[in-house]
Amino acid sequence: MTLSRAEVDHVATLARLGLSDAEKDRLLGELEAILDHIERLQRVDTSTLAETAQVGDLVNVLRADVPEAPIGAAAALRNAPATDGSYFVVGAIQGTELDA
């Protein structure tokens, strides 16, 4: 399994992980070794197997449509890096170049 450096860059961008060049170089080798090992999955004949997304047999779990007390703004904001007292404060999104 060969992974290109461009693929590592792409995946890091998708994952919103800011990595140094040294980290990317190291991850390239490590991910290749892991993917080589995982390659054995492709040998399993899965033509008759359904996918397992979860092991439980519960479906459509819904609670009663009854209002409950919310957590409250003060508690929700308690751990925020920046607030104005009522809202989370973040940099402007408009005009920010979003990567491809």
């Binding site: 693929e7 590592v8 792409h10 995946v11 890091a12 998708l14 994952a15 919103r16 992980l17 800011g18 990595l19 140094s20 980290e23 991850l27 490590e30 991910l31 070794a33 892991i34 993917l35 090992h37 995982i38 054995r40 999955l41 492709q42 040998r43 399993v44 899965t46 197997l49 359904a50 996918e51 397992t52 997304a53 979860q54 092991v55 439980g56 519960l58 779990v61 609670r63 957590i71 508690a75 929700a76 308690r78 751990n79 925020a80 890096p81 920046a82 989370f88 973040v90 940099g91 402007a92 999104i93 920010t96 170049e97 979003l98 990567d99």
Partner: protein, 487 residues
């Protein structure tokens, strides 16, 4: 005073020979004496503990007959379990200083029973690891040899019970993170059936695999903690509404007439000879008690590791997207929002977390989804089917918990060799079935664990087999140097 079990302490609290405050004093003093060597705690919750100890005293005075066996007894919580207002970091720099606005259901049930919290225990960052070396706050020493790892990811929770500071703790198990450290530190560790214990308030790693469970000194104590925290919770949509079997009711039923299977793939080449010898001796003990042992086969064991290392990283890459420096956790401020995300996560996450987020994102990305993620989900079905087939032949599976004993710190710097630690524990997570580790011997002074696995919702059966084995041996009664020093 030698470390006592929950059962013994509950009796002592009722005959007046001790009090919740005395027990907490002793636990805190023991932690103070041993932390320099062990680093098992990320936070000691002294204030909360004394408040709970006083409340427990009242409960015991007013309702001595109906108070929970856990009332007034000190315990510790893996730092992935949210407690309202108490620092919860998941072993990560990105959550330094995070104080959850609510308490996880499993923990709340312990608190309601009168449990006394001593602290939050060290773990691999976001529970990703098998040695606790991935904690952002330094590794944990194994109480049997502090140059060696205690296993992981719940290494602090295992070490503090093995060191005799507390009689029990909670951990979480996504691929073996309770059972493997239990084996490596010589205590009991239990991963229940998926859906038995609410995951509400457990910091998510891989949601289809994560389960909370206890570390204890005995299987009976394990049953006591399990019955307190198990059962339906409307706040977790994967929590199962079926009634919970009481494991205490069948705990002493023994194994006579039971059929136990030994998967030949679980004693493969990677198993250390000393581990194999100890586990085979354990099989003979079970046989002597009337169980019938037979070899069985789980042919996909080899690929189960690959399935796990697709599914767990895929789910983790999704779950950890929430750490963006906006609502909680640390933020590295940059002029653009995208750069703020990149730097916040680049600085806040450690190497193993980055590796798994990268692997998971890759497996889910366009062009690779079918080949990796979808294929892994299909092979996951096969892993479950093989267990179902085996459980038509036998009542439970017995095998090693870990292919090795505790290894020296720093000796597994290659990610794949670390991933191999979980090769006989992670299949139970993929299938959602219960598994326990119980002490079954020593190799050069280092503990070995026997694993018992049973079908879904047969949690009581797992404890019944483990208890029968434990009662016939005295490995669980042997104490690490830190626990004997308490004498």
């Amino acid at each position: 005073m030698t470390p006592r079990t929950i059962t013994e302490l509950a009796a002592a609290l009722r005959d007046g020979s001790t009090t919740p405050r005395t027990l907490l004093d002793a636990a805190l003093a023991h932690v103070d004496r041993t932390e320099q060597d062990l680093n098992a705690y990320l936070a000691v919750t002294r204030e909360l503990g004394y408040m709970q100890a006083d409340a427990a005293s009242h409960m015991l005075e007013e309702h001595p007959d109906t108070a929970s066996p856990l009332c007034g007894i000190p315990m510790a919580l893996k730092d992935v379990l949210c407690v309202d207002g108490i620092d919860t970091t998941a072993g990560s720099k990105i959550l330094r200083g995070f104080k959850p606005p609510y308490t996880s259901t499993a923990v709340q049930r312990l608190f309601d029973a009168g449990a006394v919290c001593v602290g939050k225990t060290n773990c691999d960052e976001f529970a990703m690891g098998s040695s606790t070396e991935n904690s952002a706050y330094g590794p944990v020493g194994n109480p049997w040899d502090i140059e060696r790892v205690p296993g992981g990811s719940s290494g602090g929770s295992a070490a503090t019970v093995a060191a005799g500071s507390v009689p029990y703790s909670l951990g979480s198990d996504t691929g073996g993170s309770i059972r493997q450290p239990a084996a490596l530190t010589g205590v009991v560790g239990f991963k229940p059936t998926y859906g038995r214990i609410s995951r509400y308030g457990l910091i998510a790693f891989a949601s289809s695999l994560d389960q909370i469970g206890p570390f204890t000194r005995t299987v009976e104590d394990c049953a006591l903690v399990y019955t307190t925290i198990a059962g339906h919770d409307p706040r977790d949509s994967t929590s199962d509404p079926r009634a919970v079997d009481d494991p205490l009711a069948s705990l002493h039923a023994g194994v006579a007439g039971m059929r136990l299977g030994i998967p030949r793939e679980y004693l493969g080449e990677g198993t250390e000879p000393g581990v194999r010898d100890a586990v085979q001796a354990a099989f003979r003990v079970l046989e002597a008690q009337g169980a019938t042992l037979q070899e069985v086969s789980l042919p996909s064991t080899d690929v189960a590791l690959s399935v796990y290392y697709i599914i767990a990283p895929a789910e983790c890459s999704s779950n950890l997207a929430r750490y963006d420096g906006v609502r909680f956790g640390s933020r590295v401020e940059r002029p653009s929002l995208t750069d703020t995300y990149l730097q916040t996560r680049g600085v806040g996450f450690g190497n193993e977390v980055k590796r798994r987020v990268m692997l998971g994102t890759y497996a889910l990305s366009s062009g690779y989804y079918d080949a990796y993620y979808r294929q892994a989900q299909k092979v996951r079905t096969l892993v479950s089917q093989e267990f179902e087939a085996v459980f038509k032949e036998v009542d439970a599976i017995v095998c090693p918990t870990s292919p090795s004993v505790a290894f020296p710190m720093g000796s597994r710097d290659d990610p794949l060799s670390m991933y191999m630690c979980d090769v006989v524990t992670l299949p139970a997570n993929l299938a959602g079935i219960p598994g326990i580790s119980v002490p079954c011997g020593f190799v050069d002074g280092l503990p070995v664990g026997l694993q018992v696995i049973a079908p879904r919702f047969e949690d009581a059966r797992v404890m019944r087999v483990a208890h029968a084995y434990e009662q016939a041996t005295d490995f669980h009664a042997q104490l690490s140097p830190y626990a004997s020093a308490a004498a």
